[in-house]
């Protein structure tokens, strides 16, 4: 945890250098927000698709009904941005009380359906020290991953070098699969998202 704070200070230090890039980036996020616009009765659990996790287990989104779910989309070969995104997700998860953590699921979903097999994801989870019972690193059918991403408002596009341009978004789903909180961009405060999850389990 200490290290997280230290990094945050470093980030604040270079923040001013980033004004222009951030402005551009913000535009992306507005677009993503718009694309993933959600309404009260719009549960993601309508997506009737079978995914597979890093333990080679078939999972459906609706399996997580009744629990808060943190969703993040990434890809394994991404060495610059995605580790931060996963780290952000970890910051959110680890900020929860242990009792809350136990009732919360994390879905880290890869959009690199070609390369991120369950085995690759297993290794990824281990490498990131996140092979935790609540965490599922997930892959699936290209069409269904794309649908899920579109529902979340996550954009990604493969570039000619095999990498992906993508949005950076951590989403919290409520117990019915509706989007309860979105955290866009990297290194954002997870305070609100954390409170949202905790409040969910109090009700």
């Amino acid at each position: 945890m200490k290290s997280v704070i230290a990094y945050t200070l470093v980030f604040l230090g270079i923040f001013s250098m980033n004004a222009f890039a951030q402005h551009r980036h913000h535009q992306h996020e507005k677009e993503a927000l718009k694309a993933g616009e959600v309404h009260a009765d719009h549960s993601l659990y309508h997506l009737d698709a079978e995914f597979i996790d890093h333990r080679n287990k078939v999972v459906q989104l609706s399996d997580f009904k009744g629990e808060p779910v943190i969703v993040v989309m990434f890809y394994g070969n991404c060495t610059q941005v995605c580790p931060i995104l996963i780290q952000d997700t970890w910051r959110l998860f680890s900020s929860l009380d242990e009792s809350v953590q136990a009732k919360t699921k994390v879905l880290a979903i890869s959009f690199d359906t070609e390369n991120d097999t369950p085995e690759v994801l297993k290794d990824y989870a281990k490498y990131e020290q996140l092979d935790l019972p609540e965490w599922h690193f997930i892959t699936g059918k290209r069409t269904e991953i794309k649908m899920l991403a579109t529902m979340l408002g996550v954009k990604y596009q493969q570039t000619s070098d095999g990498h992906f341009a993508h949005s950076n978004l951590v989403t919290v789903l409520d117990t019915e699969g509706k989007v309860a909180k979105r955290v866009e961009g990297l290194n954002q405060s997870m305070k609100e998202a954390s409170a949202v999850i905790t409040a969910m389990l109090k009700n």
Binding site: E31, T79, K141, M147
Partner: protein, 270 residues
């Protein structure tokens, strides 16, 4: 950081695992055309002047028809008009259909392209067929594989194509396969019938693109027979969202594999 070699090795069991996701064999199959690898000039200003390489893939010879979509709905009730949840569509989904499984063929025609389907529904249909929507680059590359006899023919075609976007009669669409517009591999009607969904209809670069009076000109610097109309098409398509349903947008599917019975190649429909 991990080494890249690790990644490569780890990716090896891929094939084994991917069999889990092998497409179910669809019951009925439109002709699937092999589009060979090649490249084309995109109007998107990613790499100006550089052709975009496209690997070979398979694509439906024609757009998905009303009749074919009915078949899909029979097997997938969750995509029927009365069942589809609002997260997957706006309220115009299959608006002109008489009922859930009856388009009203006397008005809409069995063999006319299905329209008023959201991107989600189109995506689900193709997924069900063991395919997916073509990527934007695949679709555009295929559409632009045309041959012309003369400059005059090209010029006429180009103008007609541009004018088509301002004269689409959505209430009287023609049947699929009837436009006489066909690429060199036998893919039909990519122009002149309906616009079609593609997997990445709103590419990331769409956010960076300034839509103004000069956009078409800036996208049109190559001045090919396709580019002016293409820029209108790109802009129109990227202005949609995944829930939009309109009378001018249908779709066809693409595949990484030939049809299961594999008798369909290069437009041989047997």
């Amino acid at each position: 950081m991990r080494s890249q070699t690790n990644r490569v090795i780890l990716a090896l069991p891929l094939l084994v695992v991917m069999t889990i996701f092998m497409p179910e064999v669809a019951s009925s199959q439109t002709a699937r055309v092999l589009v060979p690898e090649g490249s084309f000039h995109s109007v998107l200003p990613e790499i100006p002047g550089e052709p975009v390489p496209v690997d070979s893939f398979y694509m439906d010879e024609t757009a998905v028809t009303n009749e074919e979509f009915v078949k899909f709905l029979k097997e997938n009730p969750e995509w029927r008009r009365s069942e589809i949840p609002p997260i997957f569509t706006n309220d115009g989904y299959l608006r002109e259909w008489r009922s859930d499984l009856d388009p009203g063929y006397e008005k809409l025609g069995e063999n006319r392209p299905v329209t008023r389907v959201s991107w989600y529904a189109a995506n689900a249909y193709c997924s069900d067929q063991g395919g997916r929507l073509p990527t934007l680059n695949q679709w555009e590359y295929s559409a632009q594989l045309m041959e012309f006899e003369s400059k005059t023919e090209m010029r006429t075609f180009s103008s007609e194509l541009i004018n088509w976007y301002s004269g689409i009669d959505v209430n009287n669409l023609a049947e699929v396969g009837s436009t006489q517009i066909e690429n060199t591999e036998g893919v039909k009607d990519q122009f002149g019938l309906v616009m079609e969904w593609v997997e990445d209809f709103k590419p990331i670069i769409a956010d960076e693109l300034s839509l103004d009076c000069g956009t078409v000109g800036r996208m049109n610097t190559l001045g090919s027979v396709y580019s002016y109309a293409a820029s209108i098409r790109y802009i129109t398509r990227m202005s949609f969202n995944a829930k939009i349903t309109t009378g001018m947008v249908g779709f066809r599917c693409a595949y990484d594999e030939p049809a299961p019975t594999s008798q369909y190649e290069n437009g041989n429909t047997l």
